[in-house]
């Protein structure tokens, strides 16, 4: 039997088509969002660390950091952070349901996926309503 030799230019071999050839299905988009929000939350922990260090440093520094958070850009980042957290949290619950072997009917999969999206937006809205209204 002939032994397969490694190709001289492995990078030039044709690649399988990837996500660009598929119509965006709702569960596929939720899967991608789960990973993207996970990555965003990963780097977002730097914000939490910064805020905690500011609280542990001095009132002046803490006020300066809080002042940055209420600028339009700061608000945008914090609202995005909230949504990423809620999206990833609900996506995690969806995965917990799937981990038990339930919810794999295609219509259930789509309902869970839409539920993740709608739920994360509602929770984000609710949290920010409470924040801007002055806590509860």
């Amino acid at each position: 039997m002939a032994q397969a030799k490694p190709a001289p230019h492995p990078a030039q071999r044709p690649l399988s088509p990837h996500i660009q050839i598929y119509r965006p299905l709702v569960n596929m988009v939720m899967s991608i969002l789960h990973r993207i929000t996970g990555g965003a939350l990963y780097f977002g922990t730097l914000l939490l660390a910064w805020w905690l260090v500011a609280a542990a440093t001095s009132p002046d520094y803490f006020n300066w950091v809080n002042g940055l958070l209420v600028t339009p850009l700061g608000r945008l980042v914090m609202i995005g952070y909230t949504w990423a957290l809620m999206q990833h949290m609900l996506g995690g619950i969806r995965h917990f349901i799937w981990d038990t072997g339930r919810g794999f009917n295609l219509d259930t999969v789509d309902k869970l996926s839409w539920g993740t999206m709608v739920g994360s937006l509602l929770l984000t809205g609710g949290i920010w309503f409470a924040v801007l209204k002055g806590g509860f």
Binding site: G39, L41, A49, A55, A56, F96, V131, G134, G135
Partner: protein, 139 residues
């Protein structure tokens, strides 16, 4: 086990693994389903802690420094917060490990990124823990 030395088997028949190794079923990485399992354990912990601490943060939104510090001194906030920092740091390290292993195929590059991932999780986790403890112990 016999002390007899065995002839080398063909790859398809090789039985190099000991019976104990096969009974443990952990494979060559020696951790079996550990990655999957700890991702779930930390996810469950994060779920409970995030719900509770989101409520606490909303209550504190816009509060002045002394109020925030008083809240962080309270064990009802600091203990769950410390738990979330530890559980979250471990969870995000596992998650980023999966991302790196999925998308980075150069062996050296992958190993370096996996190490940086561990360093990042420990750095962020330890910084948060020390900031909370500093406030708890009276800063």
């Amino acid at each position: 086990m016999s002390a007899r030395l065995h002839p080398t088997d063909s790859p398809t028949k090789a039985r190099i693994r000991t019976p104990l190794s096969r009974a443990r079923g952990l494979g060559s990485a020696k951790e079996g389903t550990g990655h999957f399992w700890w991702q779930r354990v930390t996810a469950a912990a994060n779920l409970i802690l995030v719900i509770y601490l989101t409520w606490q943060v909303v209550r504190l939104a816009g509060a002045p420094h002394d109020v925030v510090k008083a809240a962080l001194k309270s064990l009802l906030v600091s203990v769950p917060l410390l738990l979330l920092i530890l559980s979250g740091a471990y969870h995000m390290r596992l998650g980023m490990q999966s991302i790196i292993e999925d998308y980075v195929h150069g062996e050296i590059c992958k190993l370096v990124l996996l190490m940086l991932n561990t360093f990042f999780a420990i750095l962020v986790g330890l910084t948060c823990v020390l900031a909370v403890l500093k406030i708890s112990f009276g800063a």
